[in-house]
């Protein structure tokens, strides 16, 4: 930091700067810009999972008054780059999953667009499809690498021999279902080509304006400078808005037919179940070999997941097992089944969320087998260095999270016997699980600082605030970096007219963008001093290596959960959850707490409710709306508490902070499942934990 004023802004629990705009609803989301003469897009989605479009009859749609254009595979423009087949929209007659775009209508009103889309007659030549993931799927393959770019398989020592000689072996398979992000704001794009057709503007709901610009520019063969993406307000994403999707391309194609007029395209909730990603179902076999005291000698984590045939996404569910606990013998593997299914993608803590559910459930089973307290079992397997790399930890605080969390939760004196506590009709139990999340930094973000006539510092960076509190946090960081009070700093985000910023993903945003702000402030002060003239400006770029190399950097945490299971109906209530985390320095305690709580709520939701059910006969998600895809509601959430250890990570970069957006969902489902086992004695090894599974 350059100079810091007497009262630093970082660390203060500010309320959100955009709070008033949000509570009144006046903050404009992608659909809500007042644009002149908008038109509306009505998409037609495939009703078969595999095959070809043999004929499209657009006559009835075209006859409808108010219809401006009907796009089909036959008449759609040829795109410049369709190597990524997610974006090869209407480029051929091939159908690769049910719910894929096969045609689209542009019309004067949303009602007409929807009616006309329904009047487009699409005939198919249907081929046999395969949408079912099984543990022994005949086409399982090993991906080149898994998400985050790490290897699919690892092995250390001789895990098979170690398992064969282990005094205690836990060998269990855990399953998690297909899950959908379901941000409250549907994925939306409003596309507008200028009259000459040379420039495209997208008002988009995205976690990364610049990444969308690059993707769309590539697909259309445009210079990126000709594509502007505007996204200052984003109604949640949780990963699904972490890249462009096919709807961006379709909206831009449709708008090309009507230059000068904006085309609005908000996906319906139902359409979001096939077009914007989802968490793959997982089948995870965990084998733990330990001595009678629960000290691990071998850990094996074999993961089976699905991907789409047209684009690979490999969720890194087994990666957590590479570093979580000490064990000399270890193996992790990932196998994918390519299916005629939509393309899976990021969903909050991809990899860690399902992976830690399995690992932390298996650890609970091991504790039970060995008769060791589950907190103590984890303490016994604490690795002095990162077992996967041999590197020292920058700030591994799992032990403290477990110990202090146990203290605060009132864990001690817990009777380990399952199914032994009953209050009225309710069986009561408690469970624990560890949490972790890697410290991720995306290099290369740029920030600009300009000193204005209004004697304020105007800071610009194309970052995204998807509800994380990024705008407020960045303002705090910029104020400290400039050594000025908050009132003198104005930050603008969410627009490609601002300097390049990395995606809001991997809990990397505040760290990555904050590093750019710090760099820009240094340059600004170096060039303009402490008393700049109005109009003075400077740019700075986040360094390649924000974090100190040579250290293994992770956030850690511990979840403690009380669960009550109804003895007659199996209904599950969770009256109490405590999450205690270590994330380095916290920039804004108020918004960080909200991130932790939100992650824990989604973890509770994952544990008890969320499940997308695919119809094997037709290949679609049958429960494709919010009435049937259940997420946690107000009545499901009580006694939730999140806190963190004070401190900073000296190796995490100029802010000493690691991300807070995802760790709250990691391990949560295991803690709930472990508490339900403790309450009932019933061990359920697949999510969600529905009441029927507890009835014996």
């Amino acid at each position: 930091m350059t100079t810091t004023p007497s009262t630093p802004s970082v660390g203060r629990p500010l309320t959100r700067l955009e709070g008033e705009a949000k509570v009144t609803g006046l903050a404009p989301y992608a659909y809500e810009y007042a644009l002149t003469d908008p038109l509306y897009l009505g998409p037609v989605l495939s009703t078969v999972a595999r095959g070809r479009v043999s004929a499209v009859d657009t006559a009835r749609a075209e006859e409808l008054p108010g219809v401006r254009a009907v796009l089909t595979p036959a008449n759609a423009e040829r795109l410049a780059d369709t190597e990524d087949r997610e974006f090869a929209v209407l480029q051929s007659d091939e159908v690769s999953f049910r719910g894929q775009f096969v045609a689209a209508v542009v019309a004067d009103t949303p009602e007409t667009a929807r009616e006309a889309a329904g009047l487009v007659d699409v005939a198919y030549e249907t081929l046999a499809h395969d949408v079912t993931l099984t543990a022994d799927h005949p086409r399982l393959y090993r991906p080149e690498e898994v998400n985050t770019g790490v290897e699919a398989d690892t092995e250390q020592g001789d895990p098979d021999a170690a398992l064969a000689r282990a005094a205690v072996v836990v060998d269990r398979t855990y399953r998690t279902p297909m899950e959908h992000n379901n941000p409250m704001e549907p994925h939306t794009t409003v596309a507008l080509w200028d009259e000459g057709g040379g420039r495209l503007t997208l008002y988009d709901s995205t976690q990364g304006a610049h990444p969308v610009r690059h993707t769309v520019a590539g697909v259309f063969g445009l210079d990126p400078e000709r594509v502007r993406v505007v996204a200052p307000y984003v109604g949640g994403g949780f990963g699904s808005k972490g890249s462009a999707h096919a709807h961006n391309v379709l909206a831009a194609m449709a708008a090309r037919a009507v230059p000068g007029r904006p085309v609005k395209f908000a996906l319906t909730r139902q359409q979001m179940f096939s077009l914007v990603g989802y968490r793959t179902p997982t089948i995870q076999r965990l084998r733990l070999g330990a001595d009678r005291d629960g000290r691990l000698d071998a850990v094996v984590h074999d993961v089976v997941e699905q991907t789409s045939k047209i684009k690979e996404f490999a969720e890194q569910s087994g990666v957590c097992t590479r570093m979580m606990y000490a064990a000399p013998h270890r193996r992790t593997t990932h196998r994918l089944a390519p299916l005629d299914a939509p393309i899976p993608f990021w969903m909050r803590a991809p990899g860690e969320a399902p992976g830690m559910y399995a690992l932390e459930s298996a650890m609970d089973e091991l504790a039970h087998e060995c008769g060791v307290d589950p907190v103590e079992l984890r303490l016994r397997n604490e690795p002095p260095v990162d077992p996967s790399t041999g590197e020292p930890w920058s700030d591994r605080a799992l032990v403290r999270c477990l110990r202090e969390g146990a203290e605060r939760f009132g864990w001690h004196g817990r009777d380990p016997a399952p199914g032994a506590r009953r209050e009225g009709d309710w069986l009561v139990g408690t469970g624990v699980a560890s949490a972790m999340y890697p410290h991720m930094v995306n290099p290369g973000s740029v920030a600009e600082i300009r000193y204005g006539e209004d004697r304020r510092y105007h800071v610009g960076i194309g970052a995204a605030d998807i509800g994380t509190g990024a705008l407020t946090a960045l303002t705090q960081i910029a104020a400290d970096a400039l050594g000025r009070p908050l009132s003198e700093v104005v930050v603008s985000i969410g627009d490609t007219d601002l300097p390049e910023a990395s995606v809001a993903g991997g809990s990397s945003g505040t760290t990555s963008w904050g590093a750019a702000l710090v760099a820009a402030a240094r340059v600004f002060r170096a060039e303009h001093g402490e008393a700049p003239a109005p109009g003075a400006s400077a740019r700075g770029t986040a360094p390649e290596d924000t974090a100190t190399p040579g250290y293994s950097q992770y956030s850690f945490g511990a979840h403690f959960v009380e669960a009550r299971v109804h003895a007659d109906t199996g209904e599950i209530r969770v009256p109490r959850m405590l999450g205690l985390f270590s994330v380095g320095r916290v920039v804004n305690p108020r918004t960080a707490r909200s991130q932790f709580l939100g992650g824990m709520v989604m973890g509770l939701s994952m544990a008890l409710y969320e499940q997308s059910v695919v119809d094997p006969a037709f290949g679609h998600v049958v429960n494709h709306d919010l009435a049937q895809y259940h997420v946690a509601v107000h009545a499901d959430v009580s006694g939730l508490e999140a806190d963190w250890l004070e401190g900073e990570d000296p190796h995490a970069g100029p802010l000493g902070s690691r991300g807070v957006g995802e760790i709250g969902i990691v391990g949560t489902a295991a803690a709930v499942a472990n508490a339900c086992h403790h309450a009932t004695g019933v061990r359920v090894r697949n999510l969600p934990l529905t009441p029927d599974l507890f009835l014996r």
């Binding site: 959100r16 008033e20 609803g25 903050a27 949303p110 009602e111 379901n182 409250m184 909200s594």
Partner: protein
């Protein structure tokens, strides 16, 4: 088929022509550029589109605009300061949402705020909920009551704990 109707939106009389299939939500968002109420599902399943219709909370995606000719609609943008006059200070419920960080992305928020305002009126009028133990006693809005009565408003960001704290404070 089109029909011309009048709506009073946040205190202002608006005349508009709608397709008879137009929902109240789309009439507000697409015809009147009143985008405070949000569309999360369009099927009455999420609560993002909650507005006050003649003083009561409703899901505007489940109402047809033509069926409400002459109605008075209040969105979160028009709640005013709570004393009946629009503009000026934030409504106490909205203020409490800001203070308690009762939102993250903000997309469910106008619906949550309108729903909370309508819910507080229902409780004051003595309407019971599933969580009400004694149907004869006046409603006392403890956390369980608030959670039960707000459960039609989903928040995918999971701001529930802070929303309940905000409403608890505003209810005092």
């Amino acid at each position: 088929m089109d029909a011309t109707i009048t709506l009073r939106v946040d205190g202002e009389e608006r005349r508009l022509t709608v397709d008879t299939r137009t929902t109240l939500l789309d009439a507000l968002r697409d015809r009147l550029e009143a985008t405070s109420p949000k569309k999360g599902c369009d099927h009455g399943q999420c609560g993002a589109c909650t507005v006050l219709l003649d003083g009561r909370r409703i899901l505007s995606c489940l109402a047809l605009a033509v069926a409400h000719d002459g109605a008075d609609v209040t969105t979160a943008a028009g709640l005013g300061s709570g004393d009946g006059a629009p503009g000026g200070e934030l409504h106490p419920v909205a203020r409490a949402f800001v203070d308690h960080d009762g939102f993250q992305c903000g997309y469910c928020t106008p619906g949550q705020v309108c729903s909370a305002v309508g819910m507080l009126r229902e409780a004051e009028a003595g309407w019971p909920s599933h969580a009400t133990a004694d149907l004869d006693a006046p409603v006392s809005l403890d956390d369980e009551e608030i959670r039960e009565r707000m459960s039609g408003n989903l928040c995918r960001c999971g701001a529930y704990t802070n929303i309940v704290a905000a409403i608890r404070e505003a209810a005092r």
